[in-house]
């Protein structure tokens, strides 16, 4: 029944928008074009190199890694340190769909390793997502991507510890099942290390095909500022540069046209990063071959079919969300008033980071949509610190999510959990923003 209502709601929404949209207004027309332009940018620059391989990897993770083996670390008799470690990274392995995060959390809390690891898992489930991390790095810059990934893992552990610490004196109601239903360990065709290796090479493929291009040019302008990027075009009077690193008054991703009169010098730079960038497709190809070999020798037909099926399921789930989200963000972003954004989150101070954390925590961000949203906000003046805060608080929490957490954990624990997320996100944003500038 609920599904039919959703279909109706969607039809209604489209109708209302189509009916009332003031398309005569030139700003709206420009916004529509912006929406398409953003969608095209994602389609051209990130789909084949990042989204598609990441989907295969996500499918591979849940097909080839034994969830039962992972769950054992989160059971009632597990080593506490291992439990925290596993809980903080296993989000993408265990949380097959976002709705299974909550039953699993409840299970780990009531029958498994306890509130601490359960809370770590509750945070990391939505926060640690292979595709999201890679796409963040590509779209928003390696720095933000890296900090997001590491931040999420550290957060998960810290939040877990906070929860365990604050509530350790309280009696924890153990569920009636003294022997929790751990998923059966299916007969595995391979040893653990083989699965891990297969996964490692798949990730390596993604890493190489997405290898960061730090830009081979260091352009020093006559006013002393330095721009780092890739020289795209050079005419008689001007040089077009694709900025790769934030600094000198410009942000990564921007395209600058600099009159030669303003350029004091252009230095070419070669280091191991650029060298790998030159050969990245060979390296990626090599990894791809190794993966193919492993798949051929170490998996059987049924597993391969399951892999493809899981990948396709992920695609059906994530791709419409991503493209739809990008389109909507492109449209709304073009209409966003720069001044309000800058006022609220325009600097790296405490207030901006706090605002960003709160917005992230309260608003619902469908998987991956946080990336185009942060991209649009950054272009309208959001600083890097609040951007990170949003990335860390956004996917993990939302108002509807909080209500369910409260139902499972009780309002005291739920409040501490949500507060911990907001505080950590704010602090991390503060540190990052002032570090990177």
């Amino acid at each position: 029944m609920s599904r039919e209502w959703k279909i109706f709601a969607a039809m209604l929404a489209v109708f209302v928008v189509a009916y009332y949209l003031p398309l005569g207004d030139p700003k709206v027309q420009a916004a529509v074009v912006e929406a398409f332009k953003l969608l095209q940018w994602y389609a051209r620059n990130h789909t084949l190199a990042c989204v598609v391989p990441a989907l295969f990897i996500a499918g591979g993770i849940i097909t080839f890694l034994s969830q039962a083996a992972v769950m054992r670390y989160l059971g009632p008799r597990s080593n506490k340190v291992a439990a925290y470690g596993v809980a903080s990274v296993s989000g993408s392995v265990l949380a097959v769909c976002s709705c299974s995060v909550l039953p699993m959390f409840a299970g780990i809390y009531k029958m498994g390793a306890g509130l601490g690891p359960a809370s770590a898992f509750l945070y990391s489930g939505p926060a640690i997502n292979i595709l999201a991390i890679f796409l963040t790095a590509r779209v928003l810059g390696v720095s933000l991507g890296l900090w997001r990934a590491i931040g999420a893992i550290v957060f998960a552990i810290v939040i877990g510890l906070i929860m365990a610490g604050v509530f350790h004196r309280e009696q924890r109601e153990r569920g009636p099942a003294a022997n929790p239903q751990m998923p059966e360990t299916a007969q595995s065709l391979r040893r653990g290390w083989q699965s891990a290796l297969l996964l490692a090479f798949m990730i390596a493929f993604l890493v190489f095909s997405d290898w960061y291009n730090p830009g081979n040019a260091i352009v020093t302008r006559t006013d002393g500022t330095v721009v780092r990027g890739v020289v795209l075009e050079e005419t008689r009077d001007e040089v077009m540069v694709q900025v790769q690193e934030t600094g000198g008054g410009v942000r990564a991703g921007a395209r600058l046209v600099l009159p030669k009169a303003e350029i004091a010098s252009i230095k070419q730079r070669e280091n191991w990063v650029t060298r790998i960038h030159h050969v990245r497709w060979y390296l990626a190809g090599l990894c791809g071959l190794v993966v193919a070999l492993m798949v051929w020798r170490w998996t059987d037909r049924e597993e391969q079919r399951a892999w493809m099926r899981n990948t396709w399921d992920f695609a059906k789930l994530l791709v419409p969300l991503l493209f739809g989200g990008v389109f909507v963000v492109g449209f709304v972003g073009a209409l966003l008033p720069d001044r309000q954004v800058a006022m609220l989150v325009g600097d790296n101070g405490l207030r901006s980071n706090l605002v960003a954390s709160l917005v992230g925590a309260l608003f619902y961000f469908a998987t991956l949509t946080e990336i185009p949203i942060v991209q649009a906000l950054s272009e309208h003046g959001m600083a890097q610190g609040p951007a990170l805060a949003l990335l860390l608080a956004g996917p993990a929490l939302s108002l509807p999510n909080m209500l369910v957490i409260y139902k499972v954990m009780g309002w005291r624990r739920a409040t501490v959990f949500c507060a911990a997320v907001v505080v950590m996100a704010t602090i991390t944003g503060l540190i990052y923003g002032n570090l990177v500038g």
């Binding site: 969830q67 909550l102 699993m104």
Partner: protein, 77 residues
């Protein structure tokens, strides 16, 4: 027989329910099918990973949607 499908309402849980209904119909088995979404009831069964299939109070499958063959085997018992 009483069949309960444990799940909070995502695609896989719905897929399990559909698969169960189809198989039950195909085998001509009389059964009462209930889709349980309440978290406390789900964890009451000791289930950590949804979707899960419970037949006559016993958890038969948890964490995945069983294949058609597996499902029919379980229903025939």
């Amino acid at each position: 027989m009483k069949i309960e499908i444990l799940g909070t309402g995502c695609a896989k849980c719905n897929a399990l329910e559909r698969a169960v209904r189809t198989s039950a119909e195909k085998l001509g088995i009389e059964c009462q099918i209930e889709h349980v979404t309440d978290l406390n009831r789900i964890t009451g069964y000791g289930v950590m990973m949804t979707p899960a299939l419970v037949i006559d109070g016993e958890v038969k499958v948890s964490g995945k949607v069983p294949s058609e063959r597996e499902l029919e085997g379980l229903l025939k018992q």
